[in-house]
């Protein structure tokens, strides 16, 4: 008799987050999947002093950094790929307000793997021999930074390699394509590091673009990479990664990607962005109105939408999801 874990986005943030927490978002892809809606809600609820663990920078980290609520961040990549530098993150780093610790895109999933396995360290054959190993924004006066990627001796050959510190984020908000009310989740597109993150984090909230019946999971159990037993809360939030894309569901909103990144380049721009795109909406409907229904429609008709076809018959309507939410609060 597993219980539905569906709750509202506001409730999820209230229940699972706090100032100063180690916060990881999934997938943390710069133009693709990321729990960006969760980050908007963190801002709405005034969370601050966050230690962000993002495999890559995203528009979420860009926004949170621009708004000044991130004091520490760890990333493998800190740009927006073809959309250029992340102006908000950049401003926070260059002003010294945010300490950004550098890793590579393999280092982050390896550190999450180590956290998931509860290893004391993870063998490192990358990042060694570069300034990623020698310089630490978290220990700026150490040179070389002994504690960041120390050396470990291979007992079989005596050869020295590096050792990564495992990651166990306090809370992970993981964006998924489809989730059932119990938390079983299906990812369409690259997992990036969501599989490892879901096992490494102490608490996991999934943010799903669509909610499906559990029968969908029974038909495709090999697609369910995050089983319900790992999930504390399930949030229904269509276009949760907007303005970034979600394979099968919606394409990148190129105009908003540019508008947003431009705005985050200044304090004033950030204030107006928050005013116009973070605080206004009150629910999923007004969130989609804010994006613009025509835009929503256009972005939903992308070249990957066929990827969603096998699962459409199990997708619950907004009304059905609302009923599940209410029955939950009732219980």
């Amino acid at each position: 008799m597993s219980q539905s874990k569906l709750i509202t986005l506001a409730e999820a943030v209230r229940r699972t987050t706090w100032d100063g927490m180690q916060y990881a978002s999934g997938a943390a892809l710069p133009v693709g999947s990321d729990a960006i809606a969760f980050g908007r809600e963190l801002l709405r609820q005034g969370r601050r002093d966050l230690h962000a663990i993002f495999h890559c920078n995203t528009q979420q980290l860009n926004l949170l950094a621009a708004a000044g609520v991130v004091s520490k961040a760890e990333c493998g990549f800190s740009g927006l790929e073809v959309f250029g530098f992340a102006n908000g993150l950049r401003r926070a780093v260059e002003s010294g307000q945010l300490a950004l610790e550098d890793w590579s895109n393999l280092a982050i999933p390896l550190r999450l793997l180590g956290g998931a396995l509860n290893w004391p360290f993870v063998p490192a054959t990358v990042n060694i021999g570069s300034d990623i190993q020698d310089r630490s924004a978290f220990a700026p006066d150490q040179y070389p930074a002994q504690g960041k990627i120390p050396t470990v001796t291979d007992p079989f050959t005596g050869r020295q390699i590096g050792a990564f510190s495992p990651l166990k984020p306090d809370v992970a908000a993981i964006h998924v394509s489809l989730a059932d009310p119990l938390g079983n989740s299906i990812i369409l597109g690259t997992e990036w590091s969501r599989f490892e993150l879901s096992r490494a984090a102490k608490r996991v909230v999934v943010i799903a673009d669509a909610i499906v019946d559990t029968d969908c999971m029974r038909q495709f159990p090999n697609l369910v990479r995050i089983p319900d037993i790992l999930v504390e809360a399930v949030v229904y939030w269509p276009f949760a990664a907007w303005p970034q894309g979600s394979p099968g569901l919606y394409d990148i909103d190129e105009d908003h990607m540019r508008l947003m990144n431009k705005a985050l380049g200044t304090v004033e721009g950030t204030e107006s962005y928050v005013r116009d795109f973070v605080t206004p909406y009150t629910d999923v409907d007004s969130y989609l109105d804010m994006i613009g229904r025509d835009t929503v429609k256009r972005l939903s008709q992308g070249s990957t939408s066929f990827l969603l076809d096998p699962y459409r018959r199990w997708i619950k309507s907004p009304d059905e999801v609302a009923q599940l939410l209410n029955s939950n609060e009732a219980s």
Binding site: G32, G76, N105, L106, P109, T190, E196, M257
Partner: protein, 262 residues
């Protein structure tokens, strides 16, 4: 006299010529992906292309992808896995034959900086950069693990330094056999392909020297745009212009004309 082409197109084609048919190759976004898919289109139908996102078997659709995970490269994939798979199992393992990476700054030993711009040296500590760049991404993993690495960079004095301010992705470090200190399975950078020519490492010192110039560039122009005293290899020569077939293949891949804008 072949038809006209841009310096960016010449760089992409010269980079693509470095990728051989049948190789397992990892491409980044932008120029790197265009150069890679040009190679697949023109002379490497069996090139096994991948991105660090663990996106396999796909070709870009509807224009240059915005990222390695963009829907534009996710609409005809045969497999989606993960970063651990692509960068770990296939690249850091030494399995990947060749990778193409970019650089904000590169030095005479092929070390790459994509992390930041500082006023002067950083010093014996960490220091906030004057201008923060994108960080290493997957390039560090490719630089450590790929069989060989091709560095693609616009040829400007500020980008070609005696020594990079910050080593984001290791080339030959201080040169010679310095890489062996770390036991990297990857062989290091085999070429720096620029908008003006191609540099290759000296077999022993690993110092990059001029290997060839383009029909529109010259040894003088290249040396003037290089921040160290660039040596010229004895065998250095002009690099063949793009053939009509090469240009056609590149432009078929570069549907949006990204490389013809400048």
């Amino acid at each position: 006299m072949t038809e006209s082409f841009t310096r960016q197109e010449m760089m992409a084609i010269a980079t693509g010529r470095e990728i051989r048919d049948g190789e397992l190759a990892i491409f980044g976004v932008g120029l790197s992906m265009l150069a890679g898919y040009f190679a697949k289109e023109h002379h490497g139908p069996n090139i096994r292309a991948m991105t660090e996102g663990g996106v396999y078997g796909s070709t870009p659709v509807g224009g240059l992808p915005w990222g390695i995970e963009c829907n534009r490269i996710s609409s005809n994939a045969t497999s989606f896995t993960s970063a651990l798979d692509a960068l770990g199992f296939l690249v850091a393992s030494g399995r990947c034959d060749v990778g193409i990476i970019g650089a904000a700054q590169v030095d005479k030993f092929g070390n790459v900086n994509t992390t930041g711009v500082w006023d002067g040296d950083i010093g014996d500590h960490y220091r906030t950069p004057k201008t923060r760049l994108t960080g290493a991404g997957g390039a560090n993993d490719i630089a450590c693990g790929a069989g060989r690495v091709v560095i693609m960079v616009t040829h400007e004095p500020k980008r070609f330094a005696e020594r990079v301010t910050y080593v984001s992705s290791p080339g030959y470090l201080e040169g010679g056999d310095a890489r062996s200190r770390y036991g990297f399975v990857g062989g290091g950078p085999s070429a720096i392909v620029t908008t003006l020519g191609i540099l290759r490492p000296h077999p022993d010192t690993k110092e990059f020297q001029l290997d060839g110039w383009y029909s529109f560039s010259s040894v003088e122009e290249i040396r003037a745009n290089t921040g160290w005293d660039l040596k010229v290899a004895d065998h250095a020569a002009v690099i063949p212009e793009p053939t009509a077939a090469e240009l056609a293949a590149l432009r078929k891949v570069d549907v949006t004309g990204a490389l013809r804008k400048h």
